[in-house]
Subunit: 320 residues, 2 copies
């Protein structure tokens, strides 16, 4: 848990470029209870190309149902064919159920074993669309990540969560030299206002300097949190949380609570390890850089906490 | 062929709502050779739920390749798994091919046996998101149409066309009492500028009066044509073109060329049937209303022709 004590926005490349192309929301929008980031490593089998980790995704879906406070029994909203099954039987007969819920959520997911292969094989994140491999890789990456997005949306819809996919590239999110330049938070909020659960994903996007790059799910979460101001943000990963070193190393300690201050300095308050810092988040990140995607996650999480929004980094099944 | 003699925009509900939320393009954008509408009835098997008409889609893809003037031999840009096949072999080894093409296209497709069932079962086009069936149907419709979109994008990408899916709902297209209220043509044009072939589709969208409705592919084409101003627009259907009555009736005659005038009156010039009209397009539409989706198509085609853009309505395999 990283509760923020000071709600002042932090210094951050991705967040501080104030142009008219960024969304700003009026007060008339529906509040968002939580932005959930489903880590690609958690919901896919990272070592098997384009394979969803079904047990994890199913469990997550059920936790999400619960956390949203869905008041109705399951009404399947996925009426599409699955492995040749007829779709007619899946249409709910009863129309007298109220499909409301107490706690609006926004879901963002990473790519895991979808997209990662295509992107790394082609170097999409470095740009240069004149390079044929990059151009082909951009197309291939988008095919793969939107395939996963459809899988996630269908998993949620099958359990009665009114999920709607929103693709950042389609919606006009783009970058300049890898830093967010245009967003479209408004479309995400509009979907929430209409009673849906938007499901956004890390995507290949256009970059005005480089031609193209990868916009990560973690950066999306950070920007969405800044504009939407949810009650809290939940990062679901495939490890139990943040450790003081790689969790595979002997003596690795789970850091249960980190306080992030206005000036981006932080203190670990639980357990009371005596590890404090005036050196900013980078120090914490450095301590974790062997745990793969954890560094970006912590940096983005800290920037969200510094906005005054509580952040939880948890393993899949400990959701809420 | 419906060549327009007068490039003045026609009166049209969908086109004449001039608000700041509509796109306007600067001159710096890449020109678009053609907007192709792939009819849902053509690319899917209309009587089989969620089934692509593979021979038609494959043939269309090859025609599109040719029409775009792709200068390179096939470089697959679909590196995703298909029926369990390994994806590694599909990545092109050669990176020295130039993936440019002479004629930029925008592709729009209908829903056919995708989405139609879900939408009609729930009444999404009539709106009312407070009705649980409509709300569930909105989710179900979007799942189905985005599934088809992915199929079309993958078919094009497999043949080396740099296709990128753009979902109208994601991109912020929305309506007011069924008439287009906000578009996002700019994102489509940006994808063209970056060297891609955007693939847009009929979608379930939010409606500020009704809650939600269906935005048809034909309306999308009309709006895209108005802003993008392509050289011509191509409607691909499952019949050879426009007839003077239902093509199934005896004596039905194919109308080879119709001229649409500034005031929306029109004349059939080939064959010289002596059928002229001062009565506007409605008369022509009425003559065809038994051919299913043809009426909307003709109305939208006539409105595009009146903008000064040649429109072709052709059967799939006679593409260009």
């Amino acid at each position: 848990m990283i509760p923020a004590q000071f709600p002042t926005p932090p210094e951050s490349q991705a967040l501080n470029i104030a142009t008219s192309q960024f969304s700003a929301l009026a007060n008339s929008h529906r509040y968002v209870h939580c932005i959930v980031k489903l880590g690609g490593a958690a919901i896919t089998r990272k070592d098997e190309l384009e394979t969803v980790n079904d047990p994890v995704l199913s469990a997550t879906t059920l936790h999400l149902r619960e956390a949203m406070g869905l008041s109705y029994t399951n009404v399947s909203m996925d009426w599409s064919r699955r492995n040749g099954s007829s779709i007619v039987d899946l249409v709910p007969n009863s129309t007298d159920q109220h499909l409301g819920f107490q706690n609006p959520f926004v879901v963002v997911h990473g790519a895991g074993s979808y997209g990662h292969f295509q992107a790394s094989k082609s170097g999409v994140n470095k740009g240069d669309l004149k390079n044929p491999l990059v151009k082909a890789g951009f197309v291939a990456t988008r095919i793969s990540v939107t395939k996963l997005n459809q899988g996630v949306v269908r998993s949620l819809a099958l359990e009665g969560i009114p999920a709607v996919g929103i693709s950042p590239f389609s919606a006009g999110w783009s970058t300049q030299n890898k830093a967010l330049k245009r967003d479209n938070v408004l479309e995400v909020q509009r979907a929430v206002d209409a009673g849906f659960v938007p499901v956004v994903h890390g995507d290949a996007v256009l970059d005005s300097t480089l031609g193209c790059t990868i916009l990560s799910g973690d950066v999306l979460v950070s920007r969405l949190a800044q504009v939407i101001k949810p009650n809290f943000v939940n990062f679901h990963t495939n490890v139990p949380g943040v450790f003081d070193r790689s969790p595979e190393q002997p003596g690795a300690t789970l850091l249960r609570e980190i306080v992030v201050y206005e000036d981006s300095s932080w203190t670990i308050v639980d357990p009371p390890l005596g590890i404090g810092s005036n050196g900013g988040v980078e120090t914490a990140v450095a301590a974790h850089d062997t745990t793969g995607g954890m560094s970006t996650k912590i940096a983005e999480a800290a920037s969200i906490a510094a906005m005054g929004i509580d952040v939880f980094i948890v393993e899949e099944l400990l959701m809420l």
